[in-house]
Symmetry: C2
Subunit: 139 residues, 2 copies
DNA sequence: CAGGATCCGATCGGATACTG
DNA sequence: CAGTATCCGATCGGATCCTG
């Protein structure tokens, strides 16, 4: 049995975590993290409630993400001394600030990703190039 | 030789793409996409320039992401009829709007992910729970 | 109910080689 | 230079079983 080698669910090619921005992108560059935070923004939730709401996430994945978020101080884990056990997760003040990011994403999504995925909304801006002619759609 | 089975670099468990927000999260839930857009926000770039700036991304990965972004209408591909070939990528108006999202992420990163990853900044808010006592750090 | 341990398949992405 | 094709290993995440 391995001695639990610290979870590191989010992997990036290599040494990309030097800057806060990279770290942020790294963290948010994970579907589950975003989705989890989204749900927690609406109030604290229990493990299985989250699990259900997220649809099809394995307990393994969910718990790893929650653990990560907890370590980073964005999520607070609250274990009740009951039987059966009850554990509630809720965002910390810091975590709630992720709301801004999510709001931005949501806004963006609504504006540019509504249904027409490969939208016909491609703009036809007059391309001005020096010297040579440039072409689109030429591979 | 397979007949190019449509790139779909970003995978999500299953049918999660029903809503614009999910789609957005799905799209932005990718390190490279974010990173690429970041760089393009500062002006158009050529393929290899991007590649270099991103550090260690394979041409395969880079081109798949660019293709995706192009399909979605966020990036414009400009091929010059020269030899050696020159191709420039730049954001469309839509793509530039991703700047908002990135800004939000950057701000968040700077605020909460600067160096002290597992910050000691954990808040000690007084937890008020009904009936039972709740505990932290109890697994 | 909350979650850890294991097994294991899917896939993503890097390295390399090749082309126009 | 700007890619594409192929091979292939790393890993991520789902399913299952099990415990406190």
């Amino acid at each position: 049995m391995k001695v639990s080698e610290e979870y590191q669910p989010l992997s990036l090619p290599e040494k990309c975590e030097e800057t806060p921005l990279r770290r942020a992108i790294h963290l948010l560059g994970d579907t589950w993290v975003l989705l989890i935070v989204m749900n927690l923004l609406q109030g604290s939730m229990r493990f299985n409630a989250l699990r259900t709401k997220l649809g099809h996430i394995s307990s393994k994945t969910l718990s790893s993400r929650l653990k990560l978020l907890e370590q980073l101080g964005f999520v607070q884990r609250l274990a009740f001394l009951e039987i059966p056990p009850r554990v509630e997760y809720h965002l910390t003040a810091q975590g709630r600030e992720l709301g801004d990011v999510i709001a931005a994403i949501e806004q963006f999504g609504n504006k540019h990703l509504s249904d027409s995925v490969v939208a016909t909304t491609r703009e036809a801006c007059p391309v001005t190039v020096e010297e040579n002619a440039a072409v689109e759609n030429v591979r």
